[in-house]
């Protein structure tokens, strides 16, 4: 679970810092930098899996465009991202090796810069700095406010705070060391021209903390559910995990039903509550084509295949299925979940989304993996629903906008993203009291901004 992110030199982010709760909403107009936050998360996840070039090529824009552009000729020399996490107590690798973490609060930092390849005369991306270290309890406000005193405060605890990944200079050479937890120092990797992160090479639980962080990052998904993909039958032998575009929905529901027959009835009940015109859902097995087909039974008893279900209906079913999937963990991001949903159903879809994030006040969730939701929106209606709904009391709402930075050193001005936390009108406390009050806006101010901006600038 992400608890804080700091970004500098990436897209419109300059000295940017943002606290996270299990459910986070970023509201702003189009082109206010909301999607750039998703891009940061996508980049970090990519860096945990691939080399720098591949991770950057999966982004929107060329790699040069990902560095903050101050002007057409002035570009940030490096990208620095720091992320603070709260992790599940146990981590298990593909070889079923399970380890208990002695530190669940960790901070990972990465700095990437461009370097001219002297032979090819092209720019390459290289790692400048990488570190992973435990966050000390003493100054950890997030831990104190959220976890301390709850069942999530695990018993195992270490006072060894040596970094798990560390960048240092040894014998005049900059090296990155990966340390096996508290046992011995790993072999240092010379940093010169390093084109992938050390973290991305940690493949098993022999390095439990680094592996847990990598695993967490690989479980961040930015959903862009495509109704065509959601409606397609799933091959019986295919993946039965919902992918970011919505493939394998029928396969996912089939797997959930196979391992827990009661789950299908539970899903049907929730679908019916949210969409009264649908009585139940089921999975048909098309043996000829060897595929699973999602079926919905209408209130009048007629059955329809997923091909004729609406975009909004399919999205709601997908979210409900995800909520019933024991394998689902980590962060999911949604761009504008209000799209394709009738305003009347906004409240209901928000309830489904809310259940996809860990509720630290509900001790029944202690055995579930940590889950987190980040959504962005420009809908004043969605914001209103969240502010008025007490189930979102511990959620953070941010107001995103581009501001002009006048930089006397660079002698130019350029746009950067700034987020202000939204104070709830009913003065319920913010999830994190550490956010300075002067940086916050009220729900009324946010809503007015979104409405006025649409009238003035959306020509």
């Amino acid at each position: 679970m992400i608890t804080k992110i700091e970004i500098n030199g990436f897209k419109t982010f300059e000295n940017f810092s943002m606290a996270f709760s299990p459910f986070v909403i970023v509201a702003g107009t189009n082109a206010s930098g909301k999607s750039n936050l998703f891009d940061t998360i996508r980049l970090l996840s990519g860096l945990a899996e691939n080399d720098l070039k591949t991770a950057f090529s999966d982004q929107r824009g060329s790699f040069l465009e990902l560095f903050t552009q101050y002007s057409s000729i002035q570009i940030a020399p490096s990208i620095h991202i720091a992320i603070e996490l709260f992790l599940d107590q146990y981590v298990r690798d593909d070889f079923n090796k399970q380890e208990e973490l002695s530190h669940r609060r960790l901070r990972y930092e990465i700095e990437i810069s461009r370097k001219i390849d002297s032979k090819l005369k092209i720019e390459r991306l290289v790692v400048n700095h990488e570190s992973l270290r435990a966050i000390k309890r003493g100054g950890d406000k997030w831990f104190k406010e959220v976890v301390a005193g709850t069942k999530w405060e695990s018993a195992k605890r270490s006072l060894n705070y040596k970094p798990y990944i560390n960048t240092e200079v040894k014998n005049n050479v900059k090296v990155i060391s990966l340390r096996q937890d508290g046992i011995r120092g790993g072999k240092p990797t010379p940093i010169k021209d390093l084109e992938r992160t050390v973290l991305s090479g940690v493949n098993d639980a022999s390095f439990p903390h680094a592996f847990a962080v990598r695993n967490e990052m690989l479980n961040w998904k930015i959903f862009q559910l495509n109704p065509i993909e959601l409606s397609k039958p799933s091959p019986m032998l295919g993946d039965n995990i919902l992918d970011i575009e919505g493939r394998n929905l029928a396969g996912l529901i089939k797997r959930i039903q196979t391992y827990e027959p009661m789950a299908l009835r539970s899903m049907s009940r929730i679908v019916h509550r949210l969409l009264p015109e649908i009585k139940s859902i089921s999975i048909d097995e098309d043996q000829v084509r060897q595929q699973y087909v999602l079926m919905a039974e209408g209130a009048d008893g007629r059955k329809f295949s997923s091909n004729v279900l609406s975009e909004g209906t399919l999205r709601i079913i997908a979210l409900i299925a995800l909520n019933h999937d024991d394998r689902h963990k980590g962060l999911i991001c949604f761009e504008e979940p209000e799209n394709g949903i009738h305003p009347y159903r906004m409240k209901k879809i928000l309830e489904v989304l809310r259940k996809l994030s860990t509720d630290f006040k509900n001790e029944n969730e202690i055995d579930l993996p940590l889950r987190q939701v980040l959504i962005n929106t420009h809908s004043p209606l969605l914001i209103k629903e969240i502010v008025q709904n007490e189930n979102f009391d511990s959620s953070l709402i941010y107001f995103s906008r581009l501001v002009s930075k006048v930089d006397a050193t660079k002698k130019i001005s350029y746009k950067i993203t700034r987020l202000s936390p939204v104070k709830k009108d009913n003065t319920k406390r913010l999830f994190l009291e550490s956010i300075p009050a002067e940086d916050s806006v009220t729900h009324h101010e946010l809503t007015e901004y979104l409405n006025v901006f649409d009238n003035v600038f959306a020509k």
């Binding site: 002009s404 700034r418 901006f453 020509k459």
Partner: protein, 219 residues
């Protein structure tokens, strides 16, 4: 340094032009003095009621902003009369307030006769944004820079230029024809500040803005 700027104006087109233009003036002021700052805008919707009550309401709501810009066209060619009729009493009331209820950094933006006059002050930039190859005389843009504030109907003048340009388009090109509403922020972003200096109403606005900014950076 963070500068929180609030704006309330007559219409959405004026708001687009004036906020973009104002931001350029503030940026230039800060860069000339080597000051690093972040500028954020709050656009305040115009409320029903007289200009007097509107100014008081806006100034109260924008109490925590650093500067409040209030725009209203002069509608005739007399800046002083527009200021006296629509701003002076409210500004005095706010200046006399000792309870800290209002934003005291008020700046009136009163283009003579209207916002569009400021958009006319560089014919080439206007033509570039209309994307026309027609000449000034073809487009009936025959006025002297120093006499823009005497032009009768500045908005009508721009609309007429657009109309002439659109008539010269082929049938196929007409789907790309431009409307005046498309021009406000584009021209606000490009019009040279030095050309605007020929306009008395602009100079009054700029001088007042620089006076307020000076008081903020040299308290």
């Amino acid at each position: 340094m963070n500068l929180f700027l609030a704006f309330t104006g007559e219409g959405s087109s004026d708001t687009r032009f004036m906020t973009v233009l104002t931001e350029r003036i503030v940026e230039k002021f800060l860069l000339d003095r080597e000051i690093t700052a972040e500028l954020s805008w709050t656009i305040m919707p115009k409320k029903p009621g007289s200009s007097h009550s509107n100014i008081l309401k806006a100034s109260k709501e924008a109490k925590d902003q650093n500067i409040l810009f209030i725009h209203r066209d002069a509608d005739n060619n007399n800046w002083e009369r527009a200021y006296q009729n629509h701003f002076e009493t409210a500004f005095q009331e706010i200046t006399n307030d000792k309870d800290g209820l209002y934003n005291q950094n008020l700046i009136a933006i009163i283009p003579v006769k209207e916002t569009e006059a400021w958009m006319l002050c560089n014919k080439q930039i206007l033509k570039n944004n209309i994307e026309t190859a027609l000449s000034n005389s073809d487009l009936e843009l025959t006025y002297q820079l120093s006499r823009i504030e005497q032009v009768n109907d500045p908005k009508g003048k721009i609309q007429r230029a657009i109309e002439i340009h659109n008539q010269a388009l082929t049938k196929k090109q007409r789907r790309y024809s431009i409307k005046i509403g498309d021009l406000y922020d584009l021209i606000g972003n490009e019009v040279p500040l030095s050309d605007l200096e020929y306009l008395d109403s602009f100079v009054r606005f700029k001088n007042r803005l620089e006076e307020v900014l000076n008081s903020m950076v040299n308290p």
